[in-house]
């Protein structure tokens, strides 16, 4: 079902993985090259659950996050009940991936079977942050955000 809508994406040279998850870590779709395993994909998904969870408590509304890493680039887009992650090599044609996502994710969202699949998925994101995977500083930050005293900072010391 989802594969049909994302088939063009899987054709783009340099694509390493395409993942769809709900905010409570339920895997909706997974396609990846051999060097990825379930542990890695879960870890990547969890990272973005943390990011989108925190974002929910701020005034920020991110449409897309693109993060370069040593072997390539990771692109993530949040939707109401789920998010999509695309992992690619350095040579990945990012504008092409963006355009395909613009078109294909609409089709995915409008797919009746997919709508059924995510019918009971939560829209809330913050509650699914996994505190076991956070260090002390991050836990303190989450608590501050939760209590409404969180501040976005550029990381520099005042």
């Amino acid at each position: 079902m989802i594969t049909n809508h994302l088939s063009q994406l899987l054709e783009v040279p340099g694509i390493e993985a395409v993942l769809l998850f709900t905010y409570h870590r339920k895997e909706l779709f997974k396609w990846h090259k051999a060097e990825f395993n379930d542990h890695i994909t879960q870890e990547i998904a969890e990272t973005f659950i943390q990011i989108f969870g925190i974002e929910e408590k701020t005034a920020l509304r991110t449409r897309e996050i693109a993060v370069p890493y040593e072997k390539g680039i990771v692109i993530a887009r949040p939707f109401t009940k789920f998010f999509v992650i695309v992992v690619g090599k350095h040579k990945l044609d990012v504008p092409l991936v963006r355009m395909i996502l613009d078109v294909a994710m609409d089709d995915v969202e409008n797919d009746r079977k997919f709508q059924k699949l995510i019918k009971h998925a939560p829209t809330e994101k913050f509650g699914y942050i996994n505190e076991f995977n956070l260090d002390e500083k991050e836990i303190a930050f989450v608590e501050r955000v939760q209590s409404g005293h969180g501040e976005m900072s550029d990381g520099s010391e005042n």
Binding site: E11, P13, H90, L96, M99
Partner: protein, 163 residues
């Protein structure tokens, strides 16, 4: 023998000498960790956010120390076919009207290119920038859909040629 470091050169770590035998600065180590026989000098410099000066001096030093093995150069640049650009312009005109041609020239200029020297890797960027000019969301999506198919056809053609 490599005389001068160029952006599209590709290196891997030489088997003849270990980086441990040479005193390297941290940025030089960072470059060493990126050498995989696939990434070009330009890509490594981009990943590590090296300045032009740093890029040349680091690669030259690593080369001088015998740590680099030259793999080759990235395949020669390939340009977008004029017929494909005409087709894109035609499709764009269906959404934008007669002003499409002017906008297309402006976007090409923004990319530092013209209709004869747009590189293949810039094609998607051109289309994405053109799509941004279409203010109606539905029409923008329809244009993107059409263009994605065209670009993928080009990619498939290139892949078949390489087989």
């Amino acid at each position: 023998m490599v005389q001068k470091i160029e952006d599209d050169m590709i290196f891997r770590l030489s088997h003849k000498r270990s980086p441990g035998e040479v005193k390297l600065k941290s940025l030089e180590w960072a470059v060493v960790t990126q050498l995989d026989g696939e990434k070009t000098v330009e890509i490594i410099a981009e990943i590590l956010a090296l300045s032009e000066e740093e890029k040349i001096s680091i690669f030259s030093h690593l080369l001088q120390e015998g740590l680099l093995e030259y793999v080759g150069q990235r395949q020669s640049r390939s340009y977008v076919d004029a017929a494909l650009l005409d087709d894109i312009e035609y499709q764009f005109t269906l959404f934008m009207g007669p002003v499409a041609s002017v906008i297309m020239d402006e976007v090409l200029e923004l990319l530092g290119r013209n209709r004869t020297n747009l590189e293949m890797h810039q094609l998607s960027t051109l289309v994405e920038l053109l799509a941004l000019e279409i203010t109606n969301e539905e029409k923008q999506k329809a244009f993107k859909k059409e263009m994605v198919q065209k670009i993928l056809t080009v990619i498939r053609g290139a892949a078949n040629e390489n087989v």
